[in-house]
């Protein structure tokens, strides 16, 4: 049943995205591309934060790690982006495992502060390691993906690739969600002590969630690098991590649909509110705050208003966490 629902979600993504790709003007296609790339990253963050409850304020560092590995491999060694992408994801996965081992022993605000420090350190290093990263000038002329020696430089062509990547990530995430690992991750979020008592290996589960979320982030980073074809440290500062978290919360945490909805909404919102000028970010903050206070389960939480109670009142264990 639930696998069926996520396949419907994937078909919706491909159908809606595909038909939009035929009608939207170039500029909106560009925004849609950025939204889909963010969605890949936020679906990854959902595994760590939504399912497992790990507050990460350093997700953008993993996006950046993926982007930088791909950019360095393609511009320095002339590796094709298709080969650089798995390498970039592998680097992010290994890094997440190594850093996750000591990091994930921390909980709550300690973890939030440590990941924040990690993100800040990432930006300091990429801004100053001139030989490798080009410092604040960034890396330009990143080659595009090529399909049958046809480069995906047009927004439309890239969108199809991005949608396909998102579809794959969504499928994998929903398989995870409905597997015994997914249920174990949610158990760890709801009550770590109790899940340890039932014999779950909580440190390993947390590391699994953190690593998978880093892999999605690195994939998003690779897509970003090949789409914009220029990266610099500011693209991956901790404010971006906060934006990813805000996307997830506005959309609805621990829901894949919510993650995508939040990513698309918060990418397009600045455009719709462009007439506000500088006031936009203040409004953005107010929006996130209001959602937190009045809609703690995000826009996806609104569904319960529209759905008729079909079965016995559904217990919501997710609300019980404190």
């Amino acid at each position: 049943m639930s696998i069926f629902r996520s396949s419907v979600l994937v078909i919706c993504i491909l159908a809606i995205g595909g038909s939009l790709s035929l009608v939207l003007p170039e500029y909106h296609l560009r925004l849609l591309n950025l939204a889909v790339i963010s969605a890949v990253s936020v679906v990854g963050l959902n595994i760590a934060f939504g399912y497992t409850g790990l507050i990460s304020l350093g997700h953008a560092a993993f996006v950046g790690l993926g982007a930088y590995v791909l950019a360095i491999l393609t511009t320095r060694s002339g590796v094709s982006p298709w080969l650089a992408m798995p390498a970039a994801i592998a680097v992010a996965v290994v890094f997440a495992m190594v850093i996750g081992l000591p990091l994930l022993r921390l909980k709550g605000h300690y973890l939030a502060l440590a990941t924040l420090g990690l993100n800040v350190s990432f930006v300091i290093i990429t801004s100053n390691w001139l030989d490798l990263t080009g410092g604040t000038n960034g890396i330009s002329r990143i080659p595009p993906f090529e399909v049958l020696s046809y480069p995906l430089t047009s927004e439309r062509g890239f969108l199809w690739l991005a949608l396909l990547s998102l579809a794959i990530v969504v499928l994998l995430a929903s398989f995870l969600h409905h597997s015994r690992y997914g249920r174990a991750l949610i158990a760890v979020r709801d009550d770590e002590l109790a899940s340890e008592m039932t014999g779950l290996d909580t440190p390993r589960l947390k590391l699994l969630a953190f690593t998978l979320s880093a892999a999605c982030a690195a994939l998003a980073g690779c897509l970003f690098a090949c789409h914009v074809r220029f990266i610099s440290p500011e693209d991956f500062s901790y404010t971006n991590s906060i934006t990813y978290l805000a996307m997830l919360i506005v959309g609805g945490e621990s829901s894949i649909g919510g993650a995508i909805l939040g990513a698309v909404l918060l990418t397009f919102l600045p455009e719709w509110l462009r007439f506000l000028g500088n006031a936009y970010l203040a409004l953005f903050g107010i929006l996130v705050f209001v959602v937190l206070v009045f809609l703690p389960s995000g826009i996806m939480g609104l569904r319960s208003f529209f759905r008729l109670p079909s079965r016995a009142p559904v217990a919501k264990p997710a609300e019980a966490k404190s």
Partner: protein, 291 residues
């Protein structure tokens, strides 16, 4: 040697500012349990309260500083009513992200009010220097160190020798029991936000003449205050003071003796090291209690 002495005084001065910011953060955390990610913007508001009173309204400086601190106290009450009250029953994660959202609101409210152009907030003792053993030291740096010490002493007396402070510490230990003892818990919680805002305001007023008053100054200050809190120990006031001074010294000395580009990495490196090895910091709370 004279160089080192001069740098050390500057390190103590900036460290004092970080210590005040970290103390404001810790007081709020201890009494209300809120990890305030907007703490850096509190300091920025302090600086800009000074800018509004001194530069824009041209008030004479003793009045201007008083007005600025009064404005910060009012801001503390507003924060209690508008941010803390709606979030108080939410899980810790929600509170963290809520304060992050408020931090974005505060930064952009300041941007809309004061513009993005940095302002010079002069110190009343601008340009005065003294020579000590060949080192030229600005009086403002010395005053910052002195003010920090004075405020730490005042805070200690407030928390340990007045009924108000003892009530506040009782709330920090156990809200339920404090309520049963007949303490006005809500008022004490509001006062802890006022105290946090006042400490941040003092930090902002002292920091203004050292840096330019810039609406983006909140984030760097917040990161240093967090590092100071982690190093000193979450929820410990002596820890916040020591941590702040340590971060200030490591920043100033690291910039001149190790690398100016990587100066911030030193304090974050030490912070992350502490989190891995000794997350409770130098004097911290027992980590399993909270978090």
């Amino acid at each position: 040697m004279a160089d080192f002495f001069q740098l050390a005084i500057n390190g103590f001065a900036i460290g004092g500012v970080y210590a005040l910011a970290a103390m404001g953060f810790v007081i709020v955390y201890e009494t209300t349990g809120v990890v305030n990610f907007a703490a850096g913007q509190f300091v920025m508001f302090g600086t800009f309260a000074g800018v509004a009173a001194l530069v824009n309204a041209h008030l004479p400086w003793p009045i201007a500083y008083g007005v600025a601190l009064l404005a910060m106290a009012a801001f503390g009450i507003a924060f209690f009513a508008l941010v803390y009250r709606p979030l108080r029953a939410s899980p810790a994660v929600t509170v963290i992200i809520g304060t992050v959202a408020v931090s974005i609101i505060m930064q952009n409210a300041a941007l809309l009010t004061f513009g993005s152009w940095p302002v010079r907030l002069a110190s009343p003792i601008e340009g005065m220097t003294v020579e000590l053993g060949g080192a030229v030291i600005s009086v403002h740096a010395l005053m910052t160190v002195g003010m920090t010490a004075l405020l730490v002493a005042c805070l200690w007396v407030l928390l340990h020798r007045t009924s108000f402070g003892i009530g506040m510490r009782a709330v920090a230990q156990d809200v339920q029991a404090a309520k049963l003892m007949g303490l006005k818990v809500n008022r004490l919680l509001a006062m802890s936000w006022v105290l946090g805002a006042l400490l941040a305001g003092a930090a902002g007023l002292l920091l203004g003449p050292m840096w330019f008053a810039d609406v983006n100054m909140g984030d760097p200050v917040a990161l240093k205050a967090f590092a100071a809190t982690i190093i000193g120990g979450f929820g410990s006031l002596p820890g916040a003071v020591l941590g702040g001074i340590f971060v200030g010294l490591s920043e100033v000395l690291g910039a001149s003796y190790i690398s100016s580009a990587y100066k911030d990495l030193i304090s974050f490196g030490i912070m992350i090291g502490f989190l891995f090895v000794r997350p409770q910091g130098l004097f911290g709370e027992k980590i399993q209690d909270r978090g």
